[in-house]
């Protein structure tokens, strides 16, 4: 199988805004789950899908090391390449990784001005101009509406789409009118797409509770718990 087929067959492709021309570049997406259900895996697969399409991805990891983020990409690519029996896998991987850059921040070191400064460093020197920024580990429990709004504005100004992960806590059962649980129940209006990961008997279901662009209409997706790969149910 070739790279082109991989793009076509990756089930997460349905979420990619560029697969439909009517979508703006600066869509905001959110993946929510309790600890250990595969938030990072989903973000990396969304990133990988974009990279396969030739888009550039900035992966921002807050509180985790560079090696861990790198390992996620390596693992996900390995499963993809094996699952689809990709020819010339090593070559494709080398090509893909050029489309990705990882930034890791300590929890305390992450802020919008810091991220903006770093992004500007990259863009002005023409080193790397991301099309999509995935932010893994952002602490929504500590952030208020303005802080998230601020990040959204920044991404819109830079014309990049943003994907965030958010950690749900068992004891907090507040929910927004649209069905988005805490800690994001107050900021749900800022996101165009919200996916919640829910464990079921056999697999982890991707519950797409909000999708302004309806790109995933009619698709049932879930996560294979052994590989954390998304597949169509």
């Amino acid at each position: 199988m070739l790279k082109e087929d991989l793009i076509k067959n990756n089930p997460l492709g349905v979420l990619n805004p560029l697969s439909s021309e009517s979508l703006p570049d600066h869509r905001m997406g959110l993946v929510m789950a309790r600890a250990g259900l595969g938030k990072t895996a989903i973000l990396v697969q969304i990133a990988m899908d974009s990279m396969l399409r030739g888009q550039k991805v900035l992966h921002v990891s807050i509180g985790e090391g560079l090696e861990k983020a790198k390992a996620w990409y390596e693992d996900i690519f390995k499963y993809l390449a094996e699952g689809f029996q990709l020819e010339n896998a090593a070559e494709v991987e080398g090509e893909l990784m050029r489309n990705r850059m990882i930034m890791t921040f300590k929890e305390s070191a992450f802020s919008r001005p810091k991220l903006e400064e770093r992004l500007n460093d990259l863009v002005y020197q023409n080193i790397f101009r991301p099309d999509i920024v995935v932010v893994d580990g952002y602490d929504f429990a500590q952030a208020d509406y303005d802080a998230v709004m601020d990040l959204k504005e920044m991404m819109a100004a830079m014309n990049v789409q943003g994907w965030f992960s958010a950690l749900r806590h068992r004891e907090d059962d507040r929910v927004s009118a649209a069905g988005v649980p805490a800690p994001c129940h107050e900021v749900d209006g800022l996101f165009d797409t919200v996916i919640i990961l829910q464990p079921e008997k056999e697999a982890i279901i991707l519950n797409i509770i909000k999708d302004e662009y309806d790109s995933a209409a009619g698709k049932n997706l879930n996560l294979d718990p052994s590989t954390m790969m998304v597949k169509e149910a």
């Binding site: 090391g65 850059m101 890791t104 990259l122």
Partner: protein
Amino acid sequence: MTVNVDKLRNIGISAHIDSGKTTLTERILFYTQRIHAIHEVRGKDGVGAKMDSMELEKERGITIQSAATYCNWKGHAINIIDTPGHVDFTIEVERALRVLDGAVLILCSVGGVQSQSITVNRQMTRYRVPRIVFINKCDRTGANPFRVAQQVREKLDLNAVMMQLPIGLEADLQGVIDLVSMKAIYFEGENGEEIREAEIPGELLAEAEAKREELLDAASMYSEELMEAILEGTPTEEMIHKAVREGTLNLELVPVFIGSAYKNKGVQPMLDAVTAYLPTPNDIENTALDLNNDEKEITLISAAEAPLISLAFKLEDGRYGQLTYIRIYQGTLKKGDTIINSRDGKKVKVGRLVRMHSDDMEDIEEAAAGDIVALFGIDCASGDTFTSPDISVSMSSMHVPEPVISLAILPVDNKAQGNMSKALNRFTKEDPTFRTYVDHETNETIISGMGELHLEVYIERMKREYNAEVQVGQPQVAYRETITRMAEFNYTHKKQTGGSGQFGRVAGFMEPSEDQEYEFVDNIVGGAIPREFISSCDKGFQKSLEKGTLAGAQITGIRMTINDGSSHAVDSSDVAFQLAAIGAFKEGYQKANPVILEPIMKVAVEGPSEFQGAVMGSLNQRRGIIVGTVEEANYTSVEAEVPLSEMFGYSTVLRSLTQGKAEFTMEFATYKQVPKSVSEEIIKAYQAEKQKS
């Protein structure tokens, strides 16, 4: 004099450059009374620290070669291997790790876990070396051992457990609190040699109790006895020591100690920890390969009466001739014994056996399993195994990377010529990553190694130790060539005019081989090429691999299959088929879309965050791919993959970009195809070179 193995520790001291390793070693030797005065690394007294025995190391304030040294601490014998801190010398680090049983990982309380510490830590994990951490330089401005301990957990993925708390920090550093005995320890006297125990200062008591809880929590995982005692409220110091030791030996727990070697604080408790928590030679399982049994792995028994098995891990050219550092894994080595080198089967008589203390030495009669000693006048190479004559065993071979950079050297006069060959002969024996050969086309002597600094150091050593002054050429990257598609060949070599003729035809195909450097497949049926000439074809192909046609670089990753050919009853010969194979290779190679590969280095630049943009720009300009950045408070590290050919002189560029505040390390990562534009330049340069000669 043999040493009781249970009271013996073979330890390494490993760290990032400039975290104070040599100073710490110096203090250890002082407190164990091996030396009687303290000299600073960059000392103004002109003597220099004891472990940096080479003049060059003294001048640069860095440690290049790992010298082994021996000392005694409270009834325990400790062999210390001082290991180099720069990545360019990792073969030395790796070889030292092989012979160690445990290690002290030194971290700077300001700089924390830096890239080199990560590399060293990875190596220690590979060789399963139990370790303890010493956070040094707690007297420096900005010292924060808690942050460093956190980094050990995050960046090194080690279960770091604080065994001490500092009393004061930075200029105010007074001593440490021992969380096991719950006592404050102060270091008094002119050189901190007098230890005074006291009650914990009141204001630190609550914190100390909290940290002790953490320690007990972590340690109780390794001892049920301790866990029960904690529940009953009666844990003893002995129980805690035992549990921490258990966790350390299993590589599941890393006790963390703090201090400042320079200010003479915290060194003795760290020595106590070496004897209490790091393994004895008996705690470590070592294996060797049985040469009589298809290199099957055998487990060694650290018993004095078993047959001798030992490893020469380090050669040094001392004032009295060649000195060979040797680690004994099994049996006993006695003066006057005859031992054999299992690589070439040569018998060697042990003339003089010594225990080394940096430059000084002590003659001994015998040494037993577990010990590290030195032999005089033995001719061997680093990594050779020496055994009793009646067994045939080899320690497993060490992983030796291929050199990635080379340069031409030219002696300035006749005297230098002779000295240079002496020096090169010695260096190549000492260091398997350092190679040398004479280029037959240009008649130049080429040296090659793992990086610019690696070669620079040898060039300086040639000058200083061997009085061999050489002119140095431009560094050359070791390019490789490979093919990217299958191609067929069918070549006839024919020379049948006058005298004895030559005839051979070789046909088949070549294709890329992903996992092997070179493979030869013989698919000849029906004797199209007579049996005796098959190996001639193989030989011819291998000769062709030495020099590719694009850049004159070695060809790798290729599988040659022959499936047809023809011969002549009289005119076919070994030479004829070799030449036919060379011709066939040339024919196929052109069609197989050959490409040039270049070494790619993993580069890590660390420095204040304000320079991050400039650093990334400089890496980007060098065809680097920035893998990522790690941002922490005001310190950022940038990780990138950059072609080696673009990294020449980078240290100067980086210094001026960052006011000297950033530093970088690099190590070989992989070979990758060069971009088209660069490839054309390399080919052009090679053609021009060929025209000239």
